[in-house]
Symmetry: C2
């Protein structure tokens, strides 16, 4: 009998991936970690039965969560990553020589260890000398961090259920604002606009952030293995506008080869469908 | 036992929708037609077991296949639709008072009759007095049509397997070119770039078209119920460039309410991911 991974992406909608074998299944203090080898997607990594990444399409998520802010401010030096235990976000960040320090705060050390063992394509740069790993709660970490420490914070979290929940609160966004420099940018994964289960959270998060940051916009990407395939990211900023301050020529001079991101797509990704724009304008 | 519709979107990848009940299942001369009522997507219409549309997300496909060319040439008068038996493309076209004639050529009359009975949300405008329905092979229809008949041809077809196959050939595109006016535009659904099964067809079709039309570009949309959720359309044209000739102010004066399409998104939809751009530049 062939084995299938099946995820109920939202009530009444399922997504299935045929698997070659299960490579890992373990319970951490926080969640269930599973890794599979699949036919179409290469390695598949799930937390509590939800797709975090696949080897085939992770480049889309990681391109968009990293290169969008980096192309708006090419002089970013100090970065904080919250979550992101698979290492993909750090991998893309380490490609910038201008970055001097990357603090990564992942609540679940077992996720990092599992990724280092089984997902080297994302995790291999976690040993970069600029990277400092902290295995603790991101909410506590930002509360204890000094003012104006970071040029960029990337919240690479799970959905706002379980360990990720506190990363979608006003208190957390307030602390992010405080520990960002006057040129600071906050990027967070922003859920899907399509299914109400996700768009409700997306609207709530966006309403909180836009009351804190002077610039607060949303951009999108095609991520085939996430619910609906239509995924959003939040770009919140104290000074830089994601379109007006885009440094395309300077970014292109870095000659970073990317499979998804490019400067035209950067601009295009902020052009949202009408129903998404209307959703973001609604108050809660 | 709850019933699920399950589609193997590409080998080793399945998409499932929980259904309330099956409304219709019939065999036409050409294909199997099924219509279901579902929990999350409202009505679901499939041909040969592949999703053609759902009530919840059909607005995306129909917005993008119609409003993109109409906003580039707001003076389009004569339109030919090949396929599109569900009526959604015609529905969007009939919103333009400037359009004088819509010839719709659908090979399978049973698709139109089933849609008129069960999918009124897309099919209700097929009775518009400007619409002429032809139940015949689109390939034969274009071969017999006079020169310079149409300002716009929309190929709203199934995949290039089964009845849709001939709509992806050089001969067909040559005929389309011939029967378009000197300002003519050809739009066709262009498959997905993500899974090789589809992207192979997409590249083949694009290579053929770009040797015929002076302007030949590709744009994208998020369509959650199509394989990978990342779907492409071809914009091929004798005169008008889809970006440089976009008539945003004139289109916006029409005050057509759209849920997906808007002028910014029009521009953004042509900004393709790097891997898709590279794919389109490759020769076969």
């Amino acid at each position: 009998m062939p084995l299938w991974y099946n995820e109920e992406q939202t009530e009444g909608v399922s997504f299935g991936i045929k698997i070659k074998e299960q490579i890992l299944s373990e319970e951490s203090q926080f969640q269930t970690i599973d890794i599979y080898d699949t036919y179409e997607f290469g390695k598949l990594f799930t937390l509590d039965g939800l797709v975090m990444l696949t080897e085939k399409d992770e480049f889309i998520y990681h391109d968009m969560i990293v290169h969008v802010p980096m192309a708006v401010n090419t002089e970013i030096k100090n970065v904080l990553v919250i979550g992101g235990g698979d290492g993909g976000t750090v991998r893309e960040l380490t490609r910038y020589n201008s970055i001097e320090k990357i603090d990564m705060v992942e609540i679940d050390e077992m996720v990092v260890r599992a990724s280092q063992k089984h997902l080297p394509f994302t995790a291999s740069k976690l040993t970069d000398p600029r990277v400092n790993l902290f295995f603790e709660d991101g909410i506590v970490f930002v509360k204890n961090a000094q003012n104006s420490m970071y040029d960029l914070i990337i919240v690479d979290s799970t959905d706002p259920i379980g360990p990720g929940e506190g990363l979608f609160t006003k208190e957390f966004y307030d602390q992010c604002f405080r520990i960002l420099t006057s040129e600071g940018i906050l990027i967070n994964q922003h859920e899907s606009p399509f299914y109400p289960q996700f768009s409700k959270e997306m609207k709530r998060a966006h309403n909180k952030i836009k009351n804190i940051f002077p610039i607060s916009m949303v951009y999108q990407a095609h991520i085939p293995t996430y619910p609906s395939g239509h995924w959003l990211f939040g770009f919140s900023s104290k000074k830089f506008h994601p379109l007006e301050d885009l440094k395309s020529p300077r970014w292109e001079m870095l000659k970073l080869k990317t499979k998804y991101y490019n400067s035209d797509l950067h601009l295009g990704s902020f052009a949202l469908p009408t129903y998404v724009k209307e959703m973001l304008e609604e108050e809660e």
